[in-house]
């Protein structure tokens, strides 16, 4: 549905995108992940025809955005970083304006009502935009992108500035939209991408670090097992004792302290369980364990590993260009 090939974009001497390529299939939700300044917004702005690239092509539904901008843009709904809202208009006036701007040919009122229903804006449709809360603005931004029922939705940081309840709402909304649309969303929140997307492209410094299914990333990382234990006892000696437990590959203090107990991360070889071993080792020295839990890797860890080394070391996954 979307093919991005060898995009290069520089602002002066600063290379924002360096040979970025990826593609998104029909009805797939793709997460563009990266720290601030990685080139996510630039990539999205190029895909929507707002900026143009120094080199490379973008095809939406087989249509080149530079050669036939009108046709390509009709297939895209775009939510920029800041929702493009006119403060002086009412919600329904604004949506009508967007409807006319996109030259849609549906039954206008029915279509806009449907958009309001999906984004739960119906109660706010008579309100003036400048008085809306951030959550409503963000939803109106998404509604604006949905007008005209475009095949492709490009959402730049759709949950930024929302409270936790709204974040969950917007994520659910995006997941629902993904059933009928191709969605690309950008985020620097890794759990969000993990929760919503089918596939993740990780960008850093304008380069694609990794392009994988969300599941395979999580699985790759889960091969390593990690537990968190809280033990009452002298930190240095506890660490030594933990490291001496069979099959433990590493142990380190987390830096958390609660009265006389400290927390530790204990990692072990893939497919092993060291919890019993840790228990007996501590029991032998009479250091009570006051807490122990399994700790999976989050995408945060993957991300840090990737950006530090450019490689998912130890997980068997190679960096892809």
């Amino acid at each position: 549905m979307i093919e991005v090939e060898h995009l290069v974009k520089s602002y002066g001497t600063n290379l924002a995108l360096d040979d970025v390529s990826f593609s998104v299939g029909e009805r797939e939700i793709l997460g563009l992940l990266g720290p601030n300044g990685a080139g996510k917004s630039t990539a999205m702005n190029i895909m929507t025809g707002y900026l143009s690239a120094n080199a490379g092509t973008v095809r939406i539904d087989g249509i080149d955005i530079l050669e036939h901008p009108g046709e390509a843009k009709k297939r895209i709904g775009f939510l920029p970083e800041t929702p493009p809202l006119y403060g002086d208009m009412r919600v329904e006036e604004y949506l009508r304006f967007v409807y006319e701007l996109k030259q849609c040919t549906y039954n206008r009122d029915a279509h806009l009502e449907e958009v309001c229903r999906v984004t739960r804006l119906y109660d706010a449709r008579r309100r003036i935009i400048k008085n809306l809360s951030t959550g409503y603005r963000q939803r109106l931004g998404i509604a604006q992108a949905l007008v005209g029922n475009p095949k492709v939705l490009i959402l730049d940081e759709p949950t930024v500035g929302l409270d936790p309840k709204q974040i969950i709402e917007v994520r659910n909304l995006i997941r629902t939209l993904g059933r009928e649309h191709t969605v690309i969303l950008s985020s620097h929140i890794l759990s969000e991408v993990q929760a919503v997307c089918d596939r993740v492209v990780i960008l850093d410094n304008g380069k694609v670090l990794c392009d994988e299914k969300t599941n395979s990333i999580s699985r790759a990382v889960q091969q390593n097992t990690r537990i968190r234990v809280r033990v009452c006892g002298p930190q240095k000696e506890v660490l030594e004792a933990l490291r001496a437990v069979p099959q433990v590959s590493s142990a380190m203090a987390t830096g958390e302290r609660e009265r006389d107990s400290f927390s530790y991360f204990v990692e072990s070889a893939p497919g092993t369980d060291v919890r019993k071993g840790v228990f007996f080792a501590m029991a032998q020295r009479e250091w009570p364990i006051v807490g122990m839990e399994e700790e999976g890797y989050s995408l945060e860890d993957v991300f840090l590993k990737l950006t530090e080394t450019g490689d998912l070391s130890g997980t068997g996954k190679k960096r892809r260009k």
Partner: protein
Amino acid sequence: MLAIYKREMHAYFTTPAGYIFMAIFLCAAGFLFSLTTLQEQSSDVSMYFQLLMLAYIVLIPLLTMRSFAEEKRNKTEQLLLTAPVSLWSMVLAKFLAAFTLFLGTVAVSSLFFVTLGMYAEPNWGRVLGCTVGMILIGICFIAIGMFLSSLTENQFTAAITTIGVLCGLVMLAMLNGFLNSYVLRQILNWISIYSRYSNFTMGIFDFSSAVYYLSMCAVFLFLTKRVYEKRRFA
């Protein structure tokens, strides 16, 4: 294009911008009109139009300052630029909206001449010629104001630079008196917005001047479009 035009007109009348422009325009025009005709007991309107042109220097920026600057500041231009609408339609729609409001205000201010006609016998040819001339100058100024508005994201910067540029353009004619070279004077006369206006004040429809004003307008609208094109590639 129609959508953007409607949205612009909507913005003029749901924010103070349109009302402020109309109010100040009509106040200034009314004041100048009573000063030059009623107070002077004269039915000659050419002085009124000459002073009105000076008032345009401040009035037109009120109309054009927000057109592109505000879109840029609120990031709403991203919506327009990623919609299936060409740059030309965006620029033209905004220009036509400003022109509509301007024309409407000029039409209202033309009621002054009805009053004048009730008490005197003005030279109607001259009134008509001057009005047409002023509308053409207005078109030209609007295009310049829009171009300068597209260069900045601050409305006031846009307004002040527009006032400066329009001032300069009108003042060009006054430089004439200080120049000795005949060739330079001729060139200056040819460029000057002010000198080109003089035929209209005699009730003559000067075709070449009309073409001049319209092409000035076209050039600045084209430059505005180029600003957006260039920014895409920058």
